[in-house]
Point group: C2
Chain length 384, copies 2
Amino acid sequence: MAKEKLLMTPGPTMIPSSVLEIMSRQIIHHRTAAFEATYKGVEEDLKLLYQTKNMVLMFASSGTGAMESAVANLFCPGDKVLVVSIGSFGERFGEICKVYGLDVVKLSYEWGEAADVNQIKDILDNDIKKEIRAIFITHNETSTGVTNDIEAVGKLTKGTDRLLIIDAISSMGGLELKTDEWGLDVVVTGSQKGLMCPPGLAYASVSDKAWAACERSTLPKFYFDYKKFKKGFLGQGQNPPFTPAVSLILGQAEALRIMKEEGFQNVYDRHRKLALATQAGVMAMGLELFATKEISSFIITAVKAPEGIEIGKVIKTMNQKYDIIVAGGQKHLKGKIFRIGHCGYVDRFDLMRGFSALELALSENGYKVEPGVGIAAVQKSLAE
Amino acid sequence: MAKEKLLMTPGPTMIPSSVLEIMSRQIIHHRTAAFEATYKGVEEDLKLLYQTKNMVLMFASSGTGAMESAVANLFCPGDKVLVVSIGSFGERFGEICKVYGLDVVKLSYEWGEAADVNQIKDILDNDIKKEIRAIFITHNETSTGVTNDIEAVGKLTKGTDRLLIIDAISSMGGLELKTDEWGLDVVVTGSQKGLMCPPGLAYASVSDKAWAACERSTLPKFYFDYKKFKKGFLGQGQNPPFTPAVSLILGQAEALRIMKEEGFQNVYDRHRKLALATQAGVMAMGLELFATKEISSFIITAVKAPEGIEIGKVIKTMNQKYDIIVAGGQKHLKGKIFRIGHCGYVDRFDLMRGFSALELALSENGYKVEPGVGIAAVQKSLAE
């Protein structure tokens, strides 16, 4: 017997059964009052989650589509922007900006580090002509398990002419983000991580400052055109300009209902506690965190592969023998780290299952570990 | 008691229950052998359906995203293209081309007419310098219920340097399209019409000639970048570059299995018979087809609103009282036509239900119709 796979990955994450059930109902038409009410409800709930009064646009796409939307909608060719990169997804923002012909100032960090806000400040301060129109930065870098201090970056741009664009694809729903208070102009995320839905939906909040930038922008866009979403279908508002991913929207409505029922603050607390327990568990097993504890993500924990152990085999054992999926490292980190996701629909007992399997898989692949030492540390941490 | 709504709309269309069931299973991870096999299988089945050896790229988006992809991937600013428009979706192709700075030659027809292939030929013949690089044309125009003769258009471009780009969003799976034999360079479609899935997936086949155009193209694109899909995730092929809409792909695999089981030719025959029966039914009720019979679509039948009858009220009665959704007219056709979809997961008994409701709703809104006359004509037509 094999149980269904437990995904402890950076996404997709596990889906609550009531969400799955709703998506299994017969399809409904999107140009109807019933669907429009649900659609509007999802946007309202997303605004609560985002802590914003801004519109939150909903695209049928994965998160990268929403990242691209922020570039295509707000800028003109040759615009200078600052892209802060601490890993794979920061790199992606930079690539998109280059594809669209922006003049990219890149501030890159070693993978495993967080952005130094003072360095960002210095770059802005030295930009005397105020040519830098925007900062692009990742909230939670899933490739390295590191979280950036977005509140601090917000202080540099709030109330200025500069835009702040946040990739919150893996953080939204797991880490608190105060969109309006921190002055975040565009915040993009996706359905398949903290938002407990299948992949296929992406969201973008748009501030007044960002809407003004849309008016100036000359870059081509159509499917992701913010102004089309503001206008709505046939200019009547309410409804998206293009056929939405109906079943996923209905699932998202239910997932947001579950999150509201728990309370967003409780959701964040749960993520924090699970992350600290994961850190305690891996350290008790003699493993090392990839990033320092201070910047380690509450969404996903990156762990150094122990010396002499083929971590790819450990990951394979966990999947094939124990039906638990954790992620390896990407690009130059392949073979050097593994990543345990604890994001979205995850509770303490999922961690127990995960750590039980991790102990077994490590042990079976040559790493000496006392049975139970990881799990016990997780249990202990959660009791604190 | 209200039964679940029967969608007789141009999309979304009804979903088979086995497709719904598969989408209700717990999510699986997309970077796994199990998902990759399904993903590859969907592409292979799409190739059979498309009748092509070309790659068929799969996007998490609605059909408009795939339409945009054809513009952004194949052209440079200022390129001259011919856009043939017979309705709302032909207009959309033109708008996208303009947004991307193409030099658009527009050949427009009255809504309700089909494109005249001789006029297309004349335009190409008069383009002595061969500046026109491509033709954009809609296969089945859902806004008017008219089908264009794509085979004939293909004869004008096959074996030449010109590209032929087809919007087959509403036709694929309902009307036969011989992608390779007819020389179609990019054919875009979506999951939510003939393909019997929820909205959220879009597809594009890409010919060798189109791949060559990609190499030349300088327009910006990222999320829909064909070359990224050819390369695959981290350059390893097989898997999409960005997180796919996992649950929808699994649903699409099952829907394609059902279509193959019926046999694609039988699927097309069913659509044709249902369309002819629909035409017979409305005419027996004294209603008029919007387009001439020769060009009337086998996917969706557009019918003129009878004089003196508020067709919006008829549509509302069908929805609210009889739980059957048909579509009204778009833009200047609003109030002047209604459209009965018979696309995808539809059989003769759905038509019976639909015509029964249509007779009732028309009658209740002031149109005199002998009870049973429409249904009997449908039944008779299907018996032929």
